[in-house]
Amino acid sequence: MSGWRTLFVKEVLRFWKVAFQTVAAPIVTAMLYLLIFGHVLEDHVQVYDGVGYTAFLLPGLAMMSLLQNAFANSSSSLIQSKIMGNLVFVLVTPLSHWAWFVAYVGSSVVRGLVVGAGVLLVAAWAAELHFAHPLWIVVFAGLGAALLGALGVIAGLWAEKFDQMAAFQNFIIMPMTFLSGVFYSIHSLPPFWQRASHLNPFFYMIDGARYGFFGVSDVSPWLSLAVVAGAFVAVSALTLHLLRIGYKVRH
């Protein structure tokens, strides 16, 4: 069956039709971070030898935008369709839980990649970009977006109201992205927070991607890959299970 392709295309078009809000806005936000933090900290912080702070910040910022937008895509699409009631048009079709998974996660990956690439592209004036190991960048960008897309499906199924969704976003996704070493190297943190950061899967996505840009990172990219891939498999298994039983969408 090829029904998943239609659902995937529909989900991509859904955000693309409002790209001003779903793509342009997050890029502007990232630029503001870059401008302000870069300006204030450029002469005060140097994380890696020979890498200016703005250049250090940029890949992490692109990853953060990518992850947040991948999450926002599947979660907001699902909760909107649930509240508007139009999810019923998909529920009455013979689409399997795999089709749902591939379509919702796939479209989230697309939006994440578009926003992440957009941030890099627009910020190219601010700092010179290195691409030490491009393949690692692609791997962490793709896997990270897929993981957050799957988490977004879980949140979208679970939340019954917009404020529950906002809580999920503000109390789980935002702290985990901000405490992942986007703005600093975790080596600059006190020991307790260093250990805490090592429990945060977002740290490995950012750190792994940064290795792809600079060829330097806080931990080995292979360790990061193992953690991120492991988290993706676990979250995907849960997502597929919830889709299969129709969690909160079939009674």
Partner: protein
């Protein structure tokens, strides 16, 4: 050949803060291929719950439902391909135009290049000039037509319409019924719930009535009408009716309809009204219609429930 729809002792119980609610209690009936079938009942009778179970949106507590032999739970994919369901709630996807919505809906069923059939649906439902309009800009009645089209993109063998004409103007009702009747002539089975009983009487060959989650009637429409015990004396007045007449009557604004069994009763009723000094306009005696039968059955059911309570 298997029945188009089989409801086999379907029950649905909900746990509510005030105890267990029996939304459906062992509902059992079948709809044969090609039938135009009405499912009637007051609000809260369980019609929409039954349709949700048929659509696979709700699981029954017990019993099973099958579409041309395909169980809606175990063989859900096959059942969904055979079913075209128009939900009761007015829902739409605000991101897309009418044609986009219909193309997507086709794609979910694995159908590509469906534009010939989509054009036919648009024409049949009077939507041709709205094909490229965004869903948000359509009136309620137009959105309802699109929902009907969405349910039909995959040429389902069974069409289920849950209150399709609620809040819809006369013109659309006629367009819609003409189109559905055509599909029925072409072999589609139709299951319909409606509050407009004259629609059910005009269209449906058989009727099931639900009350409080139980099936209380299942018969050919003509049979049900023949069985009706009474005729109806209908008139208009602005005055209050004497109690003995009022208790046999129902009022719609200034129109009164009194149940009467024979000519003698008509005379007695008119005499009672004349004696009370009630001035009548537009008097007529007509045969009982489905609405009268419906009200009679519902009242009879309430009475038996009262005795059991």
């Amino acid at each position: 050949m298997s029945a188009a729809l089989v409801f086999d002792r379907v029950s649905k119980r909900y746990a509510t803060p005030r105890g267990v609610l029996d939304a459906l209690h062992e509902v059992q009936f079948a709809v044969q291929p090609g039938e135009f079938f009405a499912l009637l009942g007051p609000n809260g009778a369980g019609k929409t719950t039954l349709i949700s179970i048929l659509a696979g949106l709700t699981r029954p507590s017990s019993g099973r439902v099958a579409v041309f032999g395909a169980d809606v739970q175990r063989d859900a994919m096959q059942a969904r391909r055979l079913l075209g369901i128009v939900p009761q709630e007015l829902v739409f996807d605000p991101f897309f135009t009418v044609r986009e919505a219909l193309r997507f809906q086709s794609g979910y069923f694995g159908i590509r290049r469906n534009d010939d059939w989509i054009d036919e649906l648009l024409a049949g439902l009077g939507l041709s000039d709205k094909a490229d309009t965004n869903m948000r800009q359509l009136s309620g009645g137009m959105k309802r037509r699109v929902m009907v089209a969405q349910a039909l993109v995959h040429r389902p063998r069974v069409i289920v319409l849950d209150e399709p004409t609620a809040g819809v103007d006369v013109e659309l009702r006629q367009t819609l019924w003409a189109f559905i009747a055509r599909l029925n002539r072409d072999g589609c089975t139709v299951l319909l719930t409606t509050h407009y009983l004259e629609e059910a009487e005009a269209l449906c060959s058989r009727v099931a009535m639900l009350r409080a989650g139980r099936l209380i009637a299942l018969e050919r429409t003509a049979e049900l009408l023949r069985r009706a015990s009474s005729n109806v004396l209908r008139f208009k007045t602005d005055q209050a009716l004497p109690a003995e007449v009022a208790q046999r009557a129902r009022a719609t604004g200034r129109i009164w309809q009194v149940k009467v069994h024979d000519a003698v009763e008509v005379e007695q009723t008119l005499a009672a009204l004349r004696q009370a000094g009630v001035v009548l306009e537009d008097i007529e005696v007509r045969k009982a219609d489905l609405e009268d039968v419906f009200l009679e059955l519902m009242a009879a059911f309430s009475a038996t429930q009262g005795r059991h309570a």
